[in-house]
Symmetry: C2
Subunit: 332 residues, 2 copies
């Protein structure tokens, strides 16, 4: 059923049966390092290109989440995949090795939430028993695809974020194991005219604010309703903007809020505003949030990854950055 304008509630239960996270070496040493399932030994990971390395990572996440859940690959109904490469090629080249139906998704760094939403439609609708949601990003390929190739040595600007090298997989199921995805608020695209492709926090904060406010209006809730509110990759500055925009509308975020990007690399100043990328919120959810939900340390989580929907071409053509937040509510 729908609640209000953009919020939907999944009537038949959708369970998050298992998760898997794999990250790059530096990510493995950062804030969430001890939570990840696997850390790559190098960024190349014995592959010839960064694209192949990302693909290997993405494919590993899909394989391992199925294995970790004690299932076979043939038990998976659909692979819902997305990434940041042009034509989401990391996803397609990962999924071609499995004999599973495939749906390719793109919502930039919020893709994991889009996958969880569409996966929930498939499970709640009674169409499939298990679906896999997975997203990835790789710092070395993302910089080339969105800004400058690393080989140029272009200095990073103060407002930039660091694309997380990582892949997260989330296995949804109709079997009553793990926390439930109960609702989603689908995001609208918002563009506040930011043209600096490094300053994604400022582009995404308004979209995130508008979507969470829509969620509060649709449901009649306030931020206090949730044990934890987690936004995607707004970064340090972006998440402050997000807090400010919400406070202007009367919604005050307290200690029950954090942003995956702002927290990802802790206080590492080289990472500027923090992490971003389709692998950022996906790996944080898979590694850090999921176990806390599963063992009831937290019971109600609002999880809203955010995405900056520009391309390198649109940035070079002087376009501003459209952005989006996709929101799911998880209860255990």
């Amino acid at each position: 059923m729908r609640i209000g304008k953009n919020t939907i509630r999944f009537e038949k239960p959708v369970y998050i049966r298992e998760t898997y996270s794999i990250v790059g070496p530096k990510e493995g040493e950062a804030r969430f390092g001890s939570y990840f399932d696997q850390v790559m030994t190098t960024y190349e990971w014995d592959e010839k290109t960064f694209e192949q390395s990302e693909r290997k990572m993405h494919k590993t996440a899909i394989e391992k989440v199925v294995e970790k859940a004690g299932l076979n690959q043939s038990d998976i109904g659909v692979l819902l995949c997305g990434d940041l490469l042009n034509q989401i090629s990391a996803s397609a080249y990962s999924a071609r090795d499995f004999k599973n139906a495939y749906l390719g998704l793109y919502s930039a760094c919020s893709t994991i939430a889009e996958a969880m939403i569409i996966g929930s439609l498939l499970i709640s609708g009674g169409y499939f028993d298990n679906v896999s949601c997975s997203t990835s990003s790789h710092f070395c390929s993302a910089e080339r695809y969105y800004r400058f190739p690393l080989e140029l040595g272009t200095p990073r600007t103060p407002l930039s974020q660091w694309t997380v090298t990582g892949a997260g997989a989330i296995l949804l199921s109709n079997v009553a194991i793990g926390p439930r995805i109960v609702e989603a608020t689908l995001g609208e695209i918002v563009d506040y005219g930011i043209i600096d492709s490094s300053d994604m926090g400022a582009a995404m904060a308004p979209a995130a604010a508008i979507n969470i406010i829509q969620h509060f209006k649709d449901t009649g809730r306030s931020p206090d309703y949730y044990d934890l509110i987690v936004s995607g990759d707004l970064g340090k500055y972006g998440s402050e903007l997000f807090r400010y925009l919400l406070s202007q509308e009367g919604y005050v975020l307290k200690d029950n809020y954090f942003d995956c990007g702002a927290e990802f690399y802790g206080d590492d100043v080289n990472k500027k505003q923090g992490g971003s990328g389709a692998g950022c919120s996906a790996t944080v959810f898979a590694s850090y949030l999921y176990p806390k939900l599963k063992n009831h340390e937290i019971n109600r989580v609002l999880f809203m990854p955010t995405g900056a929907l520009m391309s390198k071409d649109s940035s070079l053509q002087g376009e501003s950055i459209p952005a989006i937040g996709q929101l799911v509510v998880i209860e255990s």
Copy 2:
């Protein structure tokens, strides 16, 4: 409910309430010319870049399908969009001008079917009353993004296809107007090792064959069950390959089969194997097939757009082309 391995049936009815198609000047003079709703005057269409032209086309398709259905933009629950540009930017930049929830999809030239599948989940699940599915492609931008910029004047190879400049929008609804989407067979990714990025027909034919055979196995049907079987952008050579692969498995396609790409430009030899692109099957469905379904000239259609999931980067790195077919069954 699910039928067999990859086929799903939408229990609550999903209607195709309206469609809209808009194409480029040459497309307006080709085989389906008299069926399109709108023909652009030039490929630039008063815009500075081909990307902006594609966006204008995509946005127009969304606006006009809503208007043609006698609805307001606020009646639309979700925009399901995709295109061929990097990071599907035509979709994001089109959708940012509407205050509608958005889900970005990428399945190359089969994206319109992916949108119809996910749109059907949203309508059949009772979540929204109306959703818009739209995809676009533009010859001038696609050549640059997938192969060579037009300015290079690179000769076209005999097996190449011509990206259709066009956008199609399909409005799904729970209101009993128009034909119904009754089933879908979700495609698996298939890669037969084709490395020539111009030879998409050979890459896509096996994926198309495997998916339609899965559909026949899942449902126990044969090709004769359908008034019309329409594949996406296999092109002339690709659709012959597709026929051959099916015949080897005992499924003989007769006169009730055609391929959108093979037919799009008629016998124009400059277009080599025919049309392709996310706008190809979308505009053919919106302009040519939909009215025939609506007035019961045909009553059972199997519509299976196909997609080649490589990127320019994967091609330059010597990778073969993963491909997919996404299949929907429409009845009136």
